[in-house]
Structure formats: structure tokens, C-alpha cells
């Protein structure tokens, strides 16, 4: 541009020379003709416009300078946004990991389909029969391949301890298409998938490490599975193994019987769409196929259809869903509080900068330009906060992994991925825009005249700006109140439950959990013999005080219908429900359950002796009221005289640790008279070192060397696992409410401090006119108190309303606890007073002379 103008000028000069002027004068004349070069340049520049990137860079540099000049405010906003964005990112990660992508980092796309059979109207996701699967595979053209899987009950024996494998049978295409990473060896081939040739097995990474020592040459080893020899041909990669919990796979190898039983629906079926085939096309084809099969095989297939569901739409959720949404709500509150805080601080600054803005406007800056520049500042702030926040989230998630131990294994799979980082970025920018908008608008709207006049007087909280700021603080206080009240209610509930007497003693109790496989232990006599032998052996282990067997532990369990003698008989579906434990004779001693009346079970209660039962206090009270239950009879299912049991004792109630820990009716039967295949051996021993655990397991093996022990651990760890989910959620809530509290108190402090600064002149005047320290204090504190008070009122109302919604969502807990609400109110008042303290103190130190002079 310079060149262009210079040559124009030269041209003019030349013309002037030609007209007869001497060169020097020609130049001056030309310049005058042209006009003020600089001004023209500027105007030309404006017309041409700077590219928006250059403007952005300018804005950024200016923003950084401005923020640097205000380190206190900058640091506060960055820190609070970091906390809020970090918490949001963390919660979103957890939700993503547990709900949205429960299958781990995104597997394939919509081309992976799960295929169900359906029978309208009631059955929408049925498993598939082998015969139907085979026909589909032969005839369906929409799928590149189709595969099937089913569960398998495998016990590994022969080397060391017997181990139960959570295993599956899978058709060849499944593992043969090697989209899984295999750490070693190979997947299944069609040759393996034939009965007779199917004695090969693939194990998970963990099994390979644990049982085969991670031997790199383990491929080819022979393993004894269910009494037969299987060759190890592959080891599944670590990542998938960690995620799933399946220990091993063997080939599907349909038997002739399975191929014939078209009505027996036990398979899970998956398929991958051929390239170019849409889901709708595939569904249409499968519908036709299903109708055809229904015509061919009406006995088994009539009325049965097919449903295709993309794999990433499958639901694996549990009761966790509600809790996670509640957490989302909580973190949303934290975000709003942080944004309100930032907006408040920026609004305060906006007032202070109004002079600067007014000057710039007067110099020709468009209002939009000013707004954009201020928004750049706020977005920069929140981006900085977001970056720090992602760091916080990373640390936070690492801590969360600590919970992934018991009961929440899938938490171990939660982490930051690119999607979540993108979310954090968008969130940062969005919040920056959100909280920057109002301050930017106000600041940029400054009128130079008004501003200069106003700053002479030192205005206070007047006008819409002041009202907005007060409103923001009240919102902060209200939301903080809601969060802390909810968290407080839940925490109190947990603590109370922890203190309740559960009715039994879990200290020093070790549990060995087994399942007696069928058909080996199909007869009740065999089950009784096994349990009796094991209990006898367990008692003989040095260090063991008492041992017993039971079919259930005090955790949530399926109920059994029952009836009492002497009552009118009702249809079975109307029978009341009780928990039922079948226990050997020492159970009540091992578990330290109190015997209230009558007797416990003894060795005299055998399969041949009269049938007896023991009930708990609640059942006695609810169903016998003032009558004596001893000698009466109870029936737990079955009819005929020999299933009525005589009640011989009453014991104390036992809390069944789980989500609903209301006390239920409980009935105990002697194990010998009512056995089952799922066994828990409970052992009372003060030590729990590795050596005694190993001896305990040995007692099982000495009775049956091939019987796997599913788990051996303390009763307390089993109970903890039941409540792990709740504890996790409540702890998170607690952390969030703390964050909210911190941010809200910073907000209160900032507003009150600012008030003091703004009213310095006014305070100076008042003091000069005779106001005492107390008067000044009162002035400031009243202002602060009004803010907090209104906020608290709104907050209490909101907390009550939220409490009622939460009650229906989470754990049937009523968080509207007056004690908690009162405590939280006091807490917030204390916080508020504390936040007002420093500024108030500063107010009293105002030197009236200085105050009057400045401005």
C-alpha cells in the first residue's frame, strides 16, 4: 500500500513539475493535493480491513496484558473454573465409561450388529437357537460373517488348585477374524469347530499370567478341563481381558442334539454387515428369513421374528444410571456457581474499566469490537481454567481407579480420551462466553461522558449492574446450599447406617464361596455329605474357632414365599416373602447372631428327624404378634405334612447389606434338611494371613480335590462390595459440594470486598462525620448479610424441592433432614461471615482523609 501511494504521489509531483513548478514546490503541492498521508493510510487500512486472525492475535495479546495486570482476579477465576471444569470432565468421563461406551474405547461402528430373536408382543431380545443360527448363517446375504457364543461351565483341574473358569463357547468366525488382539497363539479355525476336534482352548491374559506363569511358550500345553484334555492354542490380549471378566473360550462345536432342538434358545449371535448394506436392508432380509423358517418349522418358530441392534446401542446399564445422572446434576450446579463467580468478578472489573472502554469507544472503536475483545479475555480465562481442569480431572480419575477394586471393576476402564478432551474444550469456551457476555456488554456500552462524571463520585452498587451482581451471589449461595444439603443428607444416612447394629459380627469371619457343579452333586444327600465333611475338616484347622456352612450371606437375596399354620390358605402367588438361609449347626455362633428364644440347630436335626426352622424377630412380630411362635409351623414351599417345619427358636434380626437395608423377615433351616449347591463356608478365626487361607482351601480339596473355590475373603469385604457403589457416589457428591462451598465463599468475599472499595469515599465521609468502627462494620456486614440471607432462603427452598426428587432417584433416601439443613445453614452463614470479615476489617481501616482525597 505504501508503494502504491508513493508512486501516486510521484505521479502528482511529476505532473506539477511539468506544469512548471520547481521540484521542491511540486512535491509540497502534490502532498497537499493528496491529503494527509497517514490519515489516508489509516482510512484505507480500515477499508481494506485486517484479517480476523490478525485481530484475534491482537485481542489475545491485549487480553493477556490485561489479565496480567490483575493477577488476583485472574488467578481466582482460573482456579475456580479449573475446579468446575475438572469436576465436570471427570463426571463426564465416568458417565462415558460406564453408560455411553460400556464396551470400552469405541469398538467398531454401526456395522457390528447383535441379532436377537423376538416373539411379539412380550419377548424383544431373546437368545437364538443353534438350528436357527445355522440356517441364518447359510442363507443371510447381508452379513460378511455371523458368529455365535454361549456360556460354558468349565473347571480347570490337575495342576495346583482346581479353578473355575467363567467361560464361553464361540464359533470359529468369532476369534478367527482376529480383530481381537491375541497376546499369543491363534484364534479358532473352522476345523476346531467340530465335535471331536474341539478340545482346544483360548484363555484370558489374566489366567495366562496367574495359572501359567505368563510362560511365553505356553501354547501347546495340555490343560485338564472338566476332566478332559484341552490344548491351549491362544491367549487373549491384555486390554480386552481386563475389561471383560471372561476367563476362557472353547469352540462352539454344536452337538447333533443342539442342532435338532430348534426351540432351545441359548446363543448370543453377532454379525458384521457387508460393506454397502444398510441396517434397514439387513433387517428386511432377516424378517423374510424368519418368516420362512416359521413356515417350515411352525412348532418352534411360529410367531418368532428377528431384531437387529447395533452393538454400540446395547444397554448394559444398571441401577448406576440414576446415580450418575444425579452426579451430573451436582456437577452442573458447581459449573453454574463457578460461572456466576467469574461473571461477578468480571462485572466488578468492568465497572473499573469503564473509563478505559469509554476512551476507546471515543477513539472510534465499534461496540462490537469492544465486546469481542472482552469476550476474548473471558474465553482465554476459561480456557486456562479448562487446561488446569483437565489436569485436575486426570488426577481425580486416578483416585477414582482406587475404587475399581471391589464391586466397581468397570471403573478401572474410565479415563480421558479424545472425545472427553474435546468436551472439555467446548465446555471451557462455552462457559467463557457465558460468563463473559454480561460484563462485556456492560463495559462496552460505556459512554465517555457519563463514565468520567460517575467516577468522580465513586458510585456503589447502584443500577442494573449492581443488582445483577447481587443476584449472581444469591444464586451461588442458593446452589451451594442445595449441594451441601444433599451431600450432607446422604453422608449422614451412610454414617448412620454404618453405626447401626447389623445383628451379626463380621470381624474375623472368613468366607469360602463354592458352587457344587451339577450333575456331580445333583442329589441332596451328596450336597449334605460334602458340606458336613468340609465343616468337620475346617474345624480342625489350627487357629479356627468355629466353622459353619450356609446357602446365603447377609446380603440381598431372592425371597421365598412362606405360610404359617392356622391361617387361611392362599394361592402361592399371594404368599408373603422371606429371606431363607439353610445353615449348619454352628452358624449362629460363628456369625454371633443372638438367640432370643428356644434353641439353635443341633446335630440331632438330620434329614431323617422332624423338620424344624428358626425365625427372626421381625417375622415373629409381624406374623405372630402376641402369640408364641415356638411350636407353631411354617412352610417354605411345598405341601404335604413333611414340608411344614416346626419353629424351634427365634433369633435376632440380621441386616442384609445392600441398597435397601430395611429389615426383612428371615427364616433359617438346617442345611441337612434343605441343602443347595451354592455354598458359603463361614469360618471364625482371628488370623487371616495367607497361610491360614491356604490351609482353609486345603480342607475343601481334601474332601474333593477337583472342587474349585470361587473366592476366599473376609466377610467384611463382601459386605463392603455391596455398598461400594453408594459410597462412591456419596464421596463424589461430598467432594463436589466442598468445591461448591469454596467457590461460593470466594464469590461472597469478592463482592463484599468490591463493595468496600467502591464505597471507600462514602465510608470516608461517614467516618469524617463521626461514624465509629462499629457503624462501619455494621454497614458492610449488613450488606453482606442481606446477600447471604436471601441466598440461603432460596437455597433452603430449592434444597427441599430437590430432596424430594432425589429421594425417588437414589437409594430411597430422604435427604430433607432438618438436622442437616440446619447444620448446613449454619455452615454457610459461618462461611459468609468469614468471607465478609476481611473486607469489613479493611473498611474500618479506611483513613477518611485519604478516602476523600482519592477520586
Amino acid at each position: 500500500m505504501n508503494e502504491e501511494m508513493r508512486s501516486h504521489l510521484d505521479g502528482l509531483t511529476e505532473r506539477n513539475v511539468l506544469a512548471g513548478l520547481p521540484p521542491q514546490e511540486a512535491r509540497f503541492l502534490a502532498q497537499r493535493q493528496f491529503g494527509n498521508l497517514d490519515q489516508i493510510k489509516e482510512r484505507a487500512r480500515d477499508q481494506r480491513g485486517i484479517s480476523w486472525i490478525e485481530e484475534l492475535i491482537l485481542d489475545l495479546r491485549y487480553a493477556m496484558r490485561t489479565l496480567g495486570k490483575n493477577p488476583g482476579m485472574t488467578a481466582t477465576i482460573v482456579f475456580t473454573m479449573a475446579l468446575a471444569i475438572g469436576a465436570s470432565t471427570g463426571v463426564f468421563s465416568v458417565i462415558d465409561g460406564l453408560l455411553l461406551h460400556p464396551l470400552g474405547p469405541d469398538p467398531h461402528t454401526e456395522r457390528e450388529i447383535r441379532i436377537f430373536e423376538t416373539q411379539s408382543p412380550k419377548i424383544s431380545e431373546s437368545r437364538v437357537s443353534a438350528a436357527n443360527f445355522i440356517d441364518w448363517k447359510k442363507q443371510a446375504k447381508s452379513f460378511a460373517f455371523m458368529r455365535a457364543g454361549a456360556g460354558a461351565d468349565l473347571n480347570l483341574t490337575g495342576s495346583g488348585e482346581p479353578v473355575h473358569l467363567v467361560a464361553g463357547r464361540a464359533t470359529a468366525e468369532l476369534l478367527g477374524t482376529h480383530t481381537w488382539t491375541l497376546a499369543l497363539g491363534r484364534g479358532f479355525l473352522p476345523e476346531d469347530d467340530v465335535p471331536g476336534k474341539n478340545k482346544v482352548i483360548i484363555v484370558s491374559y489374566q489366567i495366562w499370567q496367574r495359572l501359567l506363569g505368563g510362560d511365553p511358550r505356553a501354547i501347546g500345553r495340555i490343560l485338564q478341563v472338566n476332566g478332559e484334555s484341552y490344548t491351549l492354542i491362544g491367549v487373549i490380549g491384555e486390554e480386552i481381558s481386563r475389561f471383560s471378566g471372561a476367563d476362557a473360550f472353547i469352540p462352539m462345536a454344536f452337538t447333533d442334539q443342539e442342532r435338532a432342538e430348534r426351540g432351545r434358545r441359548t446363543l448370543g449371535v453377532w454379525g458384521r454387515l457387508k460393506p454397502g448394506v444398510t441396517l434397514a436392508e439387513a433387517q428386511a432380509e432377516m424378517n423374510v428369513l424368519a418368516a420362512q423358517l416359521a413356515r417350515q418349522y411352525p412348532d418352534t418358530n411360529q410367531g418368532w421374528g428377528v431384531s437387529l441392534v447395533p452393538v454400540n446401542q446395547l444397554q448394559y446399564g444398571s441401577g448406576l444410571r440414576e446415580a450418575l445422572w444425579a452426579l451430573l446434576g451436582a456437577v452442573g450446579c458447581v459449573l453454574i456457581i463457578a460461572c456466576a463467580n467469574a461473571a461477578n468478578l468480571l462485572l466488578a472489573r468492568a465497572t473499573a474499566r469503564s473509563r478505559e472502554m469509554a476512551v476507546r469507544a471515543a477513539l472510534g472503536a465499534a461496540r462490537a469490537r469492544l465486546v469481542r475483545q472482552l469476550l476474548t479475555e473471558s474465553v482465554l480465562l476459561s480456557l486456562l481454567g479448562g487446561t488446569a481442569g483437565v489436569l485436575f480431572a486426570h488426577w481425580g480419575l486416578a483416585a477414582v481407579h482406587g475404587y475399581a477394586g471391589s464391586g466397581m471393576e468397570r471403573l478401572g476402564y474410565v479415563g480421558l480420551n479424545s472425545g472427553i478432551l474435546a468436551f472439555a474444550l467446548v465446555l471451557s469456551m462455552g462457559t467463557g462466553l457465558l460468563f463473559g457476555l454480561a460484563p462485556a456488554w456492560f463495559a462496552a456500552g460505556a459512554n465517555l461522558n457519563d463514565t468520567l462524571k460517575r467516577s468522580l463520585r465513586g458510585s456503589g452498587e447502584s443500577g442494573s449492574r449492581g443488582q445483577l451482581r447481587s443476584a449472581l451471589v444469591m444464586i451461588e449461595v442458593a446452589l451451594a446450599m442445595v449441594l451441601v444439603a444433599e451431600a450432607g443428607g446422604l453422608i449422614r444416612r451412610l454414617v448412620e447406617r454404618g453405626r447401626l447394629d447389623p445383628g451379626f459380627g463380621a470381624e474375623h469371619v472368613t468366607v469360602l464361596q463354592l458352587r457344587l457343579p451339577q450333575p456331580k452333586y445333583a442329589k441332596p444327600g451328596e450336597q449334605v455329605a460334602f458340606a458336613t465333611a468340609v465343616v468337620t475338616h475346617l474345624r480342625d484347622v489350627p487357629g479356627v474357632q468355629m466353622a459353619s456352612a450356609t446357602t446365603s450371606l447377609p446380603i440381598p437375596q431372592p425371597g421365598f414365599g412362606f405360610q404359617i399354620d392356622g391361617r387361611p390358605s392362599r394361592p402361592h402367588s399371594d404368599w408373603p416373602v422371606t429371606s431363607a438361609y439353610a445353615v449348619t449347626s454352628d452358624y449362629f455362633s460363628v456369625m454371633k447372631i443372638r438367640l432370643l428364644q428356644g434353641r439353635a440347630f443341633t446335630a440331632q436335626d438330620t434329614p431323617q428327624s422332624p423338620r424344624v426352622a428358626i425365625i427372626n424377630e421381625t417375622l415373629a412380630k409381624q406374623y405372630f404378634q402376641n402369640e408364641n411362635p415356638i411350636g407353631r409351623h411354617i412352610d417354605l414351599g411345598g405341601s404335604g405334612l413333611d414340608t411344614w417345619r416346626e419353629i424351634v427358636g427365634i433369633v435376632g434380626d440380621v441386616t442384609e447389606f445392600g441398597d435397601d437395608t430395611a429389615v426383612t423377615p428371615q427364616v433359617y433351616e438346617p442345611f441337612d434338611q434343605s441343602p443347595g449347591p451354592g455354598l458359603n463356608f463361614v469360618v471364625n478365626s482371628p488370623e487371616d494371613g495367607a497361610s491360614i487361607l491356604s490351609s482353609l482351601k486345603q480342607q475343601i480339596y481334601s474332601v474333593d480335590k477337583d472342587q474349585p473355590v470361587l473366592s476366599i475373603r473376609s466377610l467384611q469385604s463382601i459386605l463392603d462390595e455391596q455398598v461400594a457403589g453408594q459410597h462412591f457416589a456419596v464421596h463424589l457428591l461430598g467432594v463436589f459440594s466442598l468445591i461448591a462451598l469454596v467457590i461460593a465463599s470466594v464469590g461472597i468475599y469478592a463482592v463484599v470486598a468490591y463493595t468496600v472499595t467502591q464505597r471507600t469515599t462514602e465510608i470516608g465521609i461517614r467516618m469524617a462525620l463521626g461514624a465509629q468502627t462499629e457503624d462501619v462494620l455494621r454497614l458492610i456486614l449488613t450488606h453482606g448479610a442481606r446477600l447471604i440471607g436471601f441466598g440461603l432462603l432460596v437455597g433452603i427452598g430449592a434444597a427441599l424441592a430437590v430432596g424430594r426428587t432425589v429421594e425417588s432417584l437414589l437409594y430411597h433416601v430422604n435427604t430433607n433432614d432438618p438436622l442437616v439443613l440446619a447444620a448446613v445453614t449454619l455452615l454457610l452463614v459461618a462461611v459468609g461471615v468469614f468471607a465478609c470479615a476481611l473486607p469489613s476489617y479493611r473498611a474500618t481501616r479506611v483513613d477518611p482523609i485519604v478516602a476523600l482525597r482519592c477520586e
Binding site: 430348534r262 426351540g263 441332596p524 402367588s573 405341601s639
Partner: protein, 110 residues
Amino acid sequence: MAKGKPDLVYGTLDMLILKALQHEPRHGLGVADRIQQMSGEILKVEQGSLYPALYRLEAEGWISGEWGFSENNRKARYYQLTASGRRQLSAETEHWSRITAAVDLVLSRI
């Protein structure tokens, strides 16, 4: 929000019978009907093997029987799960559910 998944029934005729009696007592024909509803198995299992299985289960104490009258007023023996039978069934069901869930999770994640 149950999606109407029919329960898996693994294993033998014994388990199928226990499953058929899970919700209410039935007589022999009712058991056969229910099993057919659940799995079509009965086509392969002649009615002949149903009654020996029922008597065996009763002898072992998983179910108990009582005379009553059927819908069309015929005398029929109604069977019901005992507490042991219930335990047997729920232990098996829970066991297989757990395996199936773990296996399904992996097989979906291909």
C-alpha cells in the same frame, strides 16, 4: 423396564422342570406345557421321561406333590418347589447369568 428377556435355562430336564414350577404349582401336563412354552424341548423329550423325572425330583426333595383337581375337574397331582428346589434353581440361574453376562460383554466387544 424389563425388555422381556426370557430366562436362560441351561442343563438338564431337571432344571427345566424346576424352572417350570418357579412361579406356581402345576400338575404334570402343566409342567410339560410350560416347558414347551419355554424351550420347545418337550418335542425331544417324550412325555415318558417327564414323569420319572418328576418322581425322582420329588424323592430327592426338590419338589413336593399334592393331590388336587385340575381345571377340568380331573384328579391331578400338583407339584411345587420346595425351599431346596428353589435354592437349586436360583443357584444355577445366577451362576449361568453371571457367565453369560461376562461372555456376552466380550463377544460384543469385537
